[in-house]
Symmetry: C2
Subunit: 246 residues, 2 copies
């Protein structure tokens, strides 16, 4: 089920109480999200417009083509961002992790669908509300712009990967990039959680589930990675990097 809690739906004192526990000031992802550029007073202003929204594994946050009425900060969990071709072929554009902002392009309609791969907590804003705040805060706009630039660079990496890499290179590069992303949000370990299944990985890398599985097995047999339940341990980063051919 989809659980939403408006931050100010209750009486003021309850609201304040909630904030002292769960407010932006205490937010786990504040320093890695777009909010990191906001002063505390600005944070309160934004918080007044925010709604917490949690969703369970497998639930959909929004669907490709729907009017983009909301934008989101991901607080916890992983989302899969997918686009579909009319005939059902699927491309996973990326995975949203804690600290990521959804709705960066501020467009009329969502260009992807977003589904929770595990229990997810988000901070939701009405797009219009958010746009108004952005209009008044150039430094927030700048932060969004810088994020967009970063996303663009990541998209280019992925274009190169999809267009010019072999299946093995794709998988190696994917594992390394996932590790790098987890590292930046505080999970620096050679054991990388894989919240997506083989199908999700394959749809991200432009291959079939079977090929993704075969490549994972091959890397495992070569002792470059170790398959563990729910993830991988990267045993030989050097060789993995060489295989990724970046």
């Amino acid at each position: 089920m989809l659980v939403e809690t408006g931050s100010c739906e209750r009486a003021a004192h309850v609201c304040r109480h909630r904030r002292s526990e769960n407010g932006c000031a205490d937010c786990k992802v504040r320093l890695i999200s777009v909010c990191s550029v906001l002063a505390l007073t600005e944070l309160e202003e934004l918080e007044a417009l925010s709604h917490h929204l949690t969703l369970g594994k497998g639930q959909t946050l929004f669907r490709q083509g729907e009017p983009a009425n909301s934008v989101f900060n991901v607080i916890e969990g992983t989302l899969r961002l997918t686009r579909l071709l009319p005939d059902g072929r699927r491309q996973v554009m990326g995975f949203a992790l804690p600290g990521d902002f959804l709705g960066l392009a501020l467009q009329e309609h969502y260009s992807v669908s977003a589904e929770a791969l595990d229990p997810v907590r988000t901070c939701r804003f009405e797009r219009q509300d958010f746009a108004t705040v952005v209009e008044a805060k150039p430094h927030l706009l700048k932060s969004l712009y810088e994020r967009a630039g970063h996303e663009l660079t990541l998209a280019q990496d992925q274009l190169l990967l999809l267009g010019r890499r072999t299946a093995e290179e794709k998988v190696a590069a994917f594992l390394l990039s996932l590790r790098a992303r987890f590292a930046r949000i505080g999970h620096n370990s050679v054991t990388v959680e894989l919240p997506m299944g083989r199908q999700g990985m394959a749809d991200h890398l432009g291959m079939t589930m079977e090929t993704a599985s075969r490549m994972m097995s091959r890397l495992d047999r070569a002792h470059i990675i170790l398959l563990v339940p729910g993830g991988v341990r990267l045993l030989d980063l050097d060789r993995l990097e060489r295989l990724a051919a970046s």
Copy 2:
């Protein structure tokens, strides 16, 4: 050769004369470039920082990895934006047409190389100069942000194309998207110029030159397109759209 003309390298009266002929107010791409959001007084301010830069077919504007000291508006011509893998495999990230802005991400280093496919005219700014202007003009920042969002959407289209489309679908979708882009800058015709060669097209679509050529021939033989020197005429847009499977 690379020809650069600083807008104020000459005596003031010469400079003003140049501007009355070639200044921003008369700029052919003003209304389709980032500059479209600037008032006339702001335009003059920006013009003082601008340098015209022309390059001949085949010349390089900047190379992947170089310090990004400049940003550019394309005034005329076509540039190919490529990324290289260490072993020489090439992915064309896109083509820059008149009105496009190069250096959108405002990063320290260029993430692609830009080469002229035909005679190109650009409007160059020192990145620092430009960043300073942007800092002072939130509406310019917003315009850049919107462009970045648009680029991001285009990149997503291309990810879907590279990851999930067949060679024939790729070529069909490419021709249609190129036509759409030319249409938006005032060249609305079913005859589409192809400033890039088969190799450039192939490197953009994640295939070999030979496959690109075969698909073009196949579409030609089916009378869906007509190959003409330097371009294509799109004879049957309906069938082309059906083949593109969007």
